[in-house]
Amino acid sequence: MSVATPTKPASETQPASSKRRPRPQPSWQQARTSRFEFWRRGDAFVWLSAGATGFALLLILGVLYLIAAGGLGYFWPAEIVQVETTDGKTYLGEIWERQEMPEDIASVPGEHRIRIRAANRRLNGDGEFVWIPESQIENTSTPHGVVLLEREEYGNFIGYVADYQVDGAVVARDDAALEKLTERIGPLSDLRAEILGLARGDVGKINDAMTHAKEEIRGLESKGVTEQSPEVQRQRTRLTELEADYRDISGQIDRLRTELQRETVGLRTGDGRETRVAAGDVYRIVQPNDIGFLGEAKVYFGRFWTFISASPREANLEGGILPAIFGTVMMTLLMTVAVVPLGVIAGLYLREYARQGRLVRVVRIAVNNLAGVPSIVFGIFGLGFFVYFAGAHIDQLFFSNRLPNPTFGTGGILWSALTLALLTIPVVIVATEEGLAAVPRAVREGSLALGASKWETTWKVVLPAASPGILTGVILAISRAAGEVAPLMLTGAVKIATLLPMDSSAPFLHLERKFMHLGFHIYDLGFQSPNVEAAKPMVYMTTFLLVVIVVLLNLSAMWIRNRLWSRYRSSSF
């Protein structure tokens, strides 16, 4: 019996199984004779156990609700309120939460306070959030015309647009300025994308080529080739050319950056302080108090799209989680590529080719038990074996030019994928075995009787029949891998990976690179972030996404299993 409960025989988890073995309607309540026997007959305990079931369901629903509510709500543009306090201060921001004051600072017992997300991180110092005791609130209103700007640095800005300048000259004020900004945001973001493309793509390629040339030179030197030899000279010339290219491109980037900084927006906060921001640094303009439901929905989906399609900014607090999604998917795919053939071959061997005896039984128990071994144990094994042992040897053999900088001798996506493959291989083996065992004997015998060899029977008859079972196992393995974090922390998941493990520079697939992962992202943002409160929206949203992925994977596994079951039932002949 494995810990991963879904791997047990299909019939046990099969909802339809009750049809197979009809269970008479429980009659315990009808049989009740006397009200006074509530205790003696134990009906009270039935209620208690019903309560336990209800409680367990409540817990589960509660968890799902928390994740959904926590994650889904944050992107909806909240109303911006203006709070005026008795001491004459004005605060503008979203109401974040309301709670009872801690006893030691409450002026009246039972007093409540509200927490406002006033944003404006640089202007307000680090205090993005403000607590205001309710007793000090004089007036609350939701003013029109308030804007929330999502900007490149320092998080959001909440306040008013005062003017719009180009090269230092005011071209528009107030509402006109806001309009101008709204209109310019599109072209400016194209410009920003262009800069990013140059910086990531072209500069990246030049860097790669330069590193390569330097490695070549080092390699040649270590072989004893002198500085004057033609090979070294050729690489040197290449380096000089690349440096010139680099200067070209960085000049181009600088020009574009200046272009981007030409247009600026003057901003005014709720209490009248002023600041400026480059129009090119504004990502999105929201007027939460003026746009109505449809407008809010538009902002919501816009934000959601940014979340799943953009790279993180500002220590992962802003922007999106595309690299984490990409890393998770890619690592899982790599793992699948590794685990499927290995697991299927091992399962085939155990069920079809090995002589069924005591030894195979022991091996089967061992493999099953492996599924119950804590994932961190796989993690430390992956670190010790893949990273420090295999990786170090690969480096010595193939990447000695780069030493002492490790290439494969450090955590990377390949090692993470292999570690998880080891972790999930019992799931696939067990599922394959079960799938094979469920293929009726008559089917095999029929094939053999028609003159097919054992391999032909296996390949053309048994494996296709068992394939839904195997697929179920694979999906369960994927879902386990997608949610596993502990082993990845040791073998290559990182907080921020500037380079994706797949890009346009040769050899396109960079298996040695570190990667970002949804699960690790949750851990890192929620517990290692300098500003946990501000990180909450991202954390909950990432959690929601991860849970959705894992649940969908499992549902599809269940669905396939159900189909598999009905198929076998109908194949009785």
């Binding site: 039935v46 209800g54 119950g372 670190l383 949610g483």
Partner: protein
């Protein structure tokens, strides 16, 4: 080749590939265990020593040392010549130490920063520093060694120095000397660097007033430069506190033996005192707090006796190892923390001085006849023994031996404390609370779902629970740490009440249901009680939460304050209770699912028989079905247990990860699994800590293997048992 032969070849090929591949895959999975074991093996390997050929000519050497890579050797002869050789014996420098003039060097001692204090026959002391002047020529290391004299000073006008001990920091140098006229004198050198780069050096000499009746035989300064110990001819240790302007005697301790103390030295970190005496007894003493809170010197470690009078000791600059040598020519390499004698060398004749190389990978010794001997020494993991991992160890500054995990300190000199007991304890504590929370709920729910629930409802509830088992633990950890922990802190008393109130509420609902008129009662279909109870439970929790403030007010200053004031229980926000609930949530679906399967597998005729004999449904469920399925439920509990023991992310996120031994529900703990995740980034490959983490991984592996196998065996028995019917 005809078609038949090709098919046959293919068949054989496939058979071989699958058999070979299958065996290989299974073997490599099992090889994982072998690898884990393999990584821990070096921990148990003893030290290796190997004599090395070394011919250096030096007349009457008083000190010998080497550079970090053991490629340059340094020495000073009695007549004050400083020498350096390369490892093949080529002389690199040979120059007289100018400050010494005609004085002869009598004793020398090395400080923790590698500076040597020399003492002369004319009561002067001279700190010297050797520098190998290493540089790279291509990929080869070359040396231009030099020796720097750091300023001579006189501690007395006349007299020969017989024992010396010293420290040398950037701003303070201290040297304690024992002179041939039995006086003890201290040189205090304060160095002030002005902002302009000038240096002012002030030397002061203090005479240590000795009590009458005893003769000083050894001296040693502790590393903090504030305490001086003097060993006497009656076996006592005298303690002085040193300050900027004098000395003050603060203690007088008698060792067990009355034999004269012949050697005093310190260990790395400068707080342990290595005490050797004339009969060969070797002990480590250090200062530890007594019950009243003040520090007293206590004897902490006792080592194997040496054969003759102990002449001296010298600490490693790497760890708590030290060398100690006696008059018969024996050198012991001991490890302070574990009271172990790691290795024993025989030099053949009396030893003048001996030293461990800076990386503790070599031993150099000077014999009485002037010969210099060298050994290669390899002892990578002296701090790890079965006893340090699983037993109590007496660490520096502790009053008694303790279980302690503290792998790294703020400084290099910190003593690693590697007891796995607090971690094993943490694993068990977390698991226990999680099981206490989850087992009753999961088993009762499984019983209800299997026996009483309507099949159509069951077809929804069971997959839902199973889906829950697949929710990643990082998600549960996040909710536990960020959402639950702060709320529990404010809602603590109500939560404790909920455990009583909710069952009462459920019973009340049941009782009310019994008294409902029959037509109303029948509206609720039997087997759907949990759904009917859901709103009641939600309402119950909501009402309780609403009452929280009032309830909290019943305690003086709030519940948590009251807990601390009245019972001295400290409340950590991330504690065992949070983990119990979160990890309980992770194991409820597992226990539920496996026990539900076992309960549903109980043959119908047992139930039918029991009901036919007049037992009520609950009596049947409790006395017939549950016992019949008990092996399956045991196996469910075991599997849940195994999962909880190895859980990492929830623990990492929902406890403070403090390795303490305390059963309290309200403080944190650290488990074996979380410890691996926390420590491995700090553990260099091949280091002791790295290997100890592999030991803990191996423990987890074996533990879950045992638990899962026992579950497997029990459930196989169960299947056999039913096959009888």
């Amino acid at each position: 080749m005809d078609r038949y032969a090709r098919r046959k070849a293919l068949d054989i090929g496939a058979r071989r590939t699958i058999t070979g591949g299958g065996l290989f895959i299974i073997a490599s999975i099992l090889a994982m265990l072998a690898f884990l074991v393999f990584e821990t093996l070096p921990l148990w390997r003893g030290p290796r020593t190997e004599p090395q050929e070394l011919t250096l000519e030096l007349s009457r050497p008083v000190l010998i040392d080497s550079n970090e890579y053991r490629e340059v050797l340094f020495g000073v002869s009695a007549n004050g010549h400083a020498r350096a050789w390369s490892s093949d014996g080529t002389s690199l420098i040979d120059e007289p130490l100018a400050a010494l003039g005609n004085e002869h060097v009598t004793v020398a001692t090395r400080t923790e920063n590698g500076i040597w204090w020399l003492g002369t026959d004319n009561a002067s002391v001279l700190p010297v520093q050797f520098d190998d002047g290493g540089y790279f020529e291509g990929s080869e290391r070359r040396y231009r060694p030099s020796v720097e004299e750091l300023g001579i000073a006189h501690v007395d006008s006349v007299g020969s120095i017989v024992e010396i001990s010293g420290i040398a920091d950037d701003d303070l140098m201290l040297c304690a000397t024992l002179l041939s006229d039995d006086s003890v004198r201290i040189l205090r050198r304060e160095i002030e660097e002005s902002l302009l780069g000038g240096r002012t050096v002030t030397d002061r000499v203090f005479s240590v007033p000795l009590p009458g009746g005893v003769r000083p035989t050894a001296v040693s300064l502790l590393g903090d430069g504030r305490t001086l110990y003097v060993g006497t001819n009656v076996g006592s240790l005298l303690e002085w506190a040193l300050s900027e302007d004098g000395v003050e005697q603060t203690g007088n301790y008698q060792t067990e033996a009355s034999a004269p103390v012949t050697s005093l030295g310190t260990l790395l970190g400068g707080s342990s005192l290595v005490v050797g005496n004339e009969t060969g007894d070797l002990n480590i003493w250090f200062r530890a707090p007594t019950e009243s809170g003040d520090l007293r010197l206590i004897r902490a470690h006792e080592f194997e006796n040496l054969e003759g009078e102990i002449l001296g000791s010298s600490p490693s600059l790497r760890n708590r190892s030290f060398l100690v040598w006696d008059a018969t020519g024996r050198i012991d390499v001991c490890f302070g923390t574990t009271s172990q004698t790691r290795a024993r060398l025989d030099a053949g004749s009396e030893i003048v001085t001996a030293v461990l190389s800076p990386k503790s990978d070599g031993i150099l010794a000077v014999l009485k006849d002037g010969e210099i001997r060298s050994w290669a020494f390899d002892d990578p993991h002296p701090e790890v023994t079965m006893k340090t991992l699983f037993g109590k160890t007496h660490y520096e500054r502790f009053a008694k031996p303790e279980f302690k995990w503290q792998s790294t300190g703020g400084t290099d000199e910190a003593e690693p404390k590697l007891s796995l007991i607090p971690l094993i304890f943490g694993s068990l504590k977390g698991t226990l609370y999680a099981m206490l929370f989850s087992a009753p709920i999961a088993i009762l729910a499984a019983l209800y779902t299997s026996v009483f629930m309507r099949p159509r409802l069951r077809a929804i509830v069971k997959p839902t629970m199973e889906l829950m088992a697949t929710i990643p633990s990082v998600v549960l950890g996040l909710l536990a740490g960020l959402w639950l922990a702060p709320r529990l802190q404010s809602g603590m008393p109500i939560l404790l009440m909920t455990g009583l109130v909710l069952p009462a509420l459920i019973l009340l609902a049941g009782a009310v249901h019994v008294y409902l008129p029959a037509n109303l009662r029948q509206k609720m279909r039997p087997g759907t009680e949990p759904i009917a109870l859901l709103p009641i439970l939600v309402l119950g929790v909501a009402v309780m939460l609403g009452m929280n403030g009032a309830f909290d007010g019943m305690f003086q200053g709030g519940f948590l304050h009251w807990l601390y004031e009245e019972h001295g229980i400290r409340y950590d926000q991330r504690n065992a209770l949070v983990v119990g609930i979160a990890m309980g949530l992770a194991v409820i679906p597992i226990i539920f699912s496996v026990s539900e399967d076992a309960l549903s597998a109980v043959p119908r005729h047992l139930t039918a028989g029991s009901l036919a004999l007049g037992a009520s449904p609950w009596q049947t469920a409790w006395r017939v079905i549950l016992p019949a399925a008990s092996p399956g439920i045991f196996s469910a509990l075991m599997i849940g247990f195994g999962r909880a023991v190895g859980e990492t992310m929830i623990i990492l996120m929902a406890t403070g990860n403090t390795p303490i031994l305390d059963w309290s529900l309200f403080n944190g703990f650290r488990t074996l699994s979380a410890n691996i995740a926390v420590e491995i980034p700090e553990a260099p490959h091949g280091d002791s800590l790295y290997r100890v983490l592999f030991v803990s991984a191996l423990l987890l592996f074996c533990f879950t293997l045992i638990v899962n196998t026992s579950a497997e065996i029990v459930s196989t028995r169960l299947r056999k048992r039913y096959s009888r019917f």
